[in-house]
């Protein structure tokens, strides 16, 4: 009688996947450049010694933070401002993105480009524009309306809660959402919408029950990014909020750090609180999107624009009005500011001058700062894109065991307030030996810009990848294409609009950001944003406007190049 032998499974052939190697290397790199600074911030919250003094470990920093007189009101203000801004901007951005990407609106591409340019405008320059328009005493709109109605003072006051909300919304909180959502809507397969209409669904029902749910990962990511950005928002709150004692978390942290005797421990403790809120939001978002499929681009992809019918021209008029508010007005006022003899004063003998441009160009730092800005912007965009694309691919497409950890770590830079993060980055580049040779060079600024842009870049590319069906890559491999050929000729092309958007955002953010680079810049690597800050600190708003306008031109130049490449790329699909 034959005996039975229990079959044993063949030893599994261990194969080292490239994604595992890349994932591990990225995790190590991010561990050093992201986790380490965050750990430093945590440690700082327990070190109550004065700056430069031997460590003194204590809970006193946390006690000071929690007993801050303004803590409760700042927390409430921060949450209120965040919620109100998202409630206003999110539905509006979704609606506009849908109109731009999925309908036959005339001039849709140009309007989309207009939103990009609106995003490029430096926030401080736009804030100054709205001060000029809506200051309660001297604002031009108030003066005009007061003159017409014969009253002493106009109705608008930019130094108020709603003034703050308005300026926040029009300086980027809204336009960036349109930028990020439009490519996602463009990737939406029309067959889903057609199926809805076939069974009798109207346009609104189709949008709410088909389109939005399918695009939920991207919408949630954009919402989350908006909330995180709002939690950390500082410049506008500092300029407009402090005068009427509207304090938020970021201005509280600023006051602790900017004092002549800085209190880093309580400032770090407050930053940890923001970080914990951020981590909670991230966890929620990951949970909501982890178990569903959101594929919209498949082998049968079709993009059929929806006809707007009689709504075409009214919607165009509305969007043109929005463009007037978010783009045309700030640009005109910023340009006007560059020619003003005294910013905001038009009732003097000679209100206009070319001297500001001359003064800016004659500044011995100008050319070097411009060169540094171009290096910084292009370098950050190139390195950032490659890094974010790799991280997003590993998280979405690979079987790397620690891909969720990689995803979480990529969010971290966004959870820490800018001022505290810049202190931590200073410690990073001085404290980690292999990175120290970079200190004082433009590479420091490039790496910082790449790290701070990582959450947004990775999440947008992740959203784009989630929309792409796996069968497209499989078809390529079946046809004999290698991983690199598939990645280059299928994925990158389909992700083109998202890649361009992310690259552009990194480019612009690197060109105009001052908060992250303030502690890392030197005279040698100083970009234009620091030069602008220096002029503002001296009260030379007119020359600062010139610098702001040049930064905008650099950004628009980058956008034109990217847009041209994007049009060619989109046509090829």
């Amino acid at each position: 009688m034959a005996s039975l032998t229990i079959a044993r499974p063949l030893p599994r052939a261990y194969r080292l996947e490239p994604s595992a190697i890349a994932g591990a290397l990225l995790l190590v790199a991010l561990g050093v450049t992201v986790v380490y600074p965050v750990l430093l911030i945590v440690l700082q919250s327990f070190d109550v010694a004065g700056p430069g003094q031997p460590h003194v470990w204590s809970l006193q920093g946390w006690q000071s933070a929690l007993s801050e007189p303004l803590l409760r009101s700042s927390l409430l203000n921060t949450i209120t401002l965040t919620v109100v801004k998202q409630v206003i901007t999110m539905p509006l951005a979704v609606a506009i993105a849908w109109v731009l990407a999925r309908t036959d609106l005339p001039g849709g591409n140009w309007l989309e480009f207009g939103f990009w340019v609106a995003f490029f405008l430096p926030p401080l320059a736009v804030t100054q524009s709205w001060l000029l328009l809506a200051d309660a005493h001297y604002g031009l709109i108030n003066q005009f309306l007061a003159g017409i109605f014969g009253v002493r003072q106009g109705p608008f006051n930019v130094y108020s809660f709603w003034g703050l909300v308005w300026v926040d919304v029009v300086t980027g909180a809204f336009t960036v959402k349109v930028m990020l959502l439009t490519p996602a809507f463009r990737h939406m397969n029309s067959t889903f919408e057609e199926a809805s209409r076939i069974v009798g669904g109207g346009s609104m029902r189709t949008i709410l029950r088909i389109t939005v749910p399918i695009l939920m990962p991207t919408i949630l990511v954009v919402l989350l990014l908006g909330m995180m950005a709002s939690l950390q928002s500082f410049e506008i709150e500092q300029v407009l909020g402090t005068p009427f004692r509207f304090f938020v978390f970021s201005t509280m942290i600023y006051n602790l750090v900017e004092s002549s005797q800085p209190s880093y421990a309580p400032a770090a403790a407050l930053a940890i609180m923001v970080l914990l809120v951020g981590l909670a939001l991230i966890w929620l978002q990951l949970r909501m999107t982890s178990r569903r499929q959101f594929t919209t681009v498949t082998g049968q992809f079709k993009n059929q624009p929806v006809s707007l019918g009689i709504w075409r021209w009214p919607l165009l008029a509305v969007l043109m009005l929005i463009m007037l508010i978010v783009l045309v007005t700030p640009v005109l006022l910023t340009v006007a500011g560059t020619f003003m003899t005294a910013f905001g004063f038009l009732n003097i003998a000679h209100p206009w001058t070319l001297d500001n441009w001359g003064a800016a160009f004659r500044d011995p730092q100008f050319v070097r700062s411009l060169t540094n800005t171009l290096q910084l912007a292009f370098g950050s965009a190139a390195i950032g894109l490659a890094t974010y694309a790799l991280i997003a691919y590993i998280v979405v497409r690979s079987r790397f065991a620690w891909r969720r950890g990689l995803d979480l770590v990529s969010w971290l830079p966004f959870t820490v307030p800018g001022l505290i993060l810049s202190l931590a980055m200073l410690s990073l580049f001085l404290g980690v030996l292999p990175l120290r040779p970079l200190y004082g060079t433009t590479w420091v600024l490039i790496l910082t810009a790449v790290l701070t842009g990582m959450p947004l870049g990775v999440q947008i590319l992740k959203g784009g990848l989630l929309q792409l069906g796996a069968e497209l890559e499989e078809a390529s491999r079946v046809a004999g294409g290698s991983w690199w050929v598939t990645f280059r000729r299928i994925l990158l092309r389909l992700l083109g609009p998202s890649l361009l958007t992310v690259g552009l955002i990194v480019f612009v953010s690197a060109a105009r950001n001052a908060s992250y680079v303030a502690l890392l810049s030197t005279t040698a690597n100083q970009p234009l944003s620091m030069l602008q800050l220096n002029y503002l600190a001296q009260g030379k708003n007119e020359i600062a406007s010139v610098i702001a306008f040049i930064v905008t031109l650099v950004s628009v130049g980058g956008a034109c190049i990217a847009r041209a490449a994007g049009f060619r790329g989109a046509a090829a699909i």
């Binding site: 030893p11 080292l16 430069g52 031997p54 007189p69 004063f345 001085l430 708003n541």
Partner: protein
């Protein structure tokens, strides 16, 4: 036992290797104890020309110097005169405000990087942060030129410039300006409305005073410290809780608002911004006011020199310091920045901030006032809500 059980998964090996690499990369040297502030050396005997020649020769060999001032194109233009006087010594000028300079200089020093030689810094951060961390060396031994140490060249004598610190060694005050803290719009404020700091508590001005943040800005915590010393903490309590001042951190922004007529009274506006406006025919009704009970004088923002410990170019630093404090240096500096030098052979450039001879005013920059300033800042933290 099968071969599979002895095989370490390559994925696991990669992760372990990565963790090991991470630990290695993160191993920075243990923080060194900051060099403690050295005791002041014995006063150097006056140097002869030969000594100065040696210092100059050594400075030229060093070939460079790094100096920090506050931002300002005038500061950069003024210090370019040093490069003309000493073309063999390349001047690298950074323009960091105190809150940016302090963390940078401290963190760099912890990493054994020494960038700066000389600082032009206000006293508060220098004494509260840099001095305890051992960043500063006594400057007095570095001042060796006879034309600089000559008592006749300085208002109240050479030694008066060392009085900012109790050891009379650490810093040198080259300029003397009257505080320009309080400004009024004479179109909205009567000539007799303000005679003392108590008038700032008049309910008539409730909600109409704009000031910089007392927790941060010297242009406010200096006069408020004087008010508190004269009238008690209640003065500040009343000011913040009853008068509801508008707080704006940016002195330039305050100057703009004042010029637009938004507020009749301002504390902490940048006077030079208003002066620029007045040259354009704007803000001509804005005047500076010196209330006798909160009037003070001291160095201008960039008027105090500090020598950095472990300066990378020590001899170039001495050449720079002696040049800056010389007649040529002070003339170059004040002509472009419109500061008022303490030197008696350099004419004052700004009458509005000139301290008349014989007028003795407290200088809140002096080290002895630090505890009171800290108390003012702490009280402001409690009161600003």
């Amino acid at each position: 036992m099968s071969k599979a059980q002895f095989r370490i998964g390559r994925r696991r090996l990669l992760v372990l290797s990565g963790a090991a690499a991470l630990l290695q990369a993160c191993s920075a040297p243990a923080p060194r104890a900051m060099p403690t502030q050295t005791t002041a050396p014995a006063q150097a005997s006056s140097s002869g020309p030969g000594d100065w020649d040696k210092i100059l020769s050594a400075a030229k060999s060093e070939g460079a110097i790094t100096v920090n001032t506050f931002p300002g194109s005038a500061n950069q233009t003024a210090l370019a005169e040093f490069s003309k006087a000493y073309p063999d010594i390349k001047l690298e000028q950074t323009t960091l405000v105190s809150s940016a300079l302090a963390p940078k200089i401290l963190q760099e020093r912890q990493a054994n990087i020494f960038t700066w030689d000389v600082l032009h810094q206000p006293t508060t951060t220098s004494l509260q942060v840099l001095k305890p961390a051992g960043v500063l060396d006594p400057i007095k031994p570095a001042i060796v030129r006879p034309d600089v140490t000559d008592d006749a060249s300085w208002r109240d004598g050479f030694a008066a410039g060392l009085a900012l610190t109790t050891d009379m060694q650490l810093a040198y005050q080259s300029t003397l300006v009257r505080a320009q803290n309080l400004m009024i719009d004479t179109a909205q404020v009567g000539p007799d409305d303000f005679k003392s700091a108590q008038d700032l508590l008049n309910p008539k001005w409730k909600g109409k005073i704009v000031c910089t943040d007392t927790r941060i800005s010297g242009s406010t915590f200096f006069p408020f410290t004087l008010a508190r010393l004269k009238y008690g903490d209640d003065w500040m309590t009343q000011f913040f809780q009853t008068q509801e001042p508008v707080i704006i951190n940016d002195g330039a922004q305050i100057a703009q608002l004042l010029a637009h007529g938004n507020y009749p009274v301002a504390i902490g506006a940048i006077w030079t911004v208003l002066q620029d406006f007045q040259k354009q025919g704007i803000a001509t009704t804005i005047k500076q006011l010196n209330l006798p009970d909160i009037d003070s004088a001291g160095p201008s923002t960039n008027g105090t020199l500090w020598l950095v410990n472990n300066a990378p170019h020590p001899n170039a630093a001495r050449v720079y310091i002696n040049w800056f404090l010389s007649k040529e240096g002070q003339e170059a500096w004040t002509s472009i920045t419109t500061d008022n030098s303490r030197r008696t052979d350099v004419t004052p450039k700004d009458d509005s901030t000139f301290v008349p001879r014989g007028l003795s005013l407290p200088d809140l920059n002096e080290e002895k006032y630090l505890p009171e300033i800290a108390r003012t800042q702490e009280l402001a933290k409690q009161l600003i809500k």
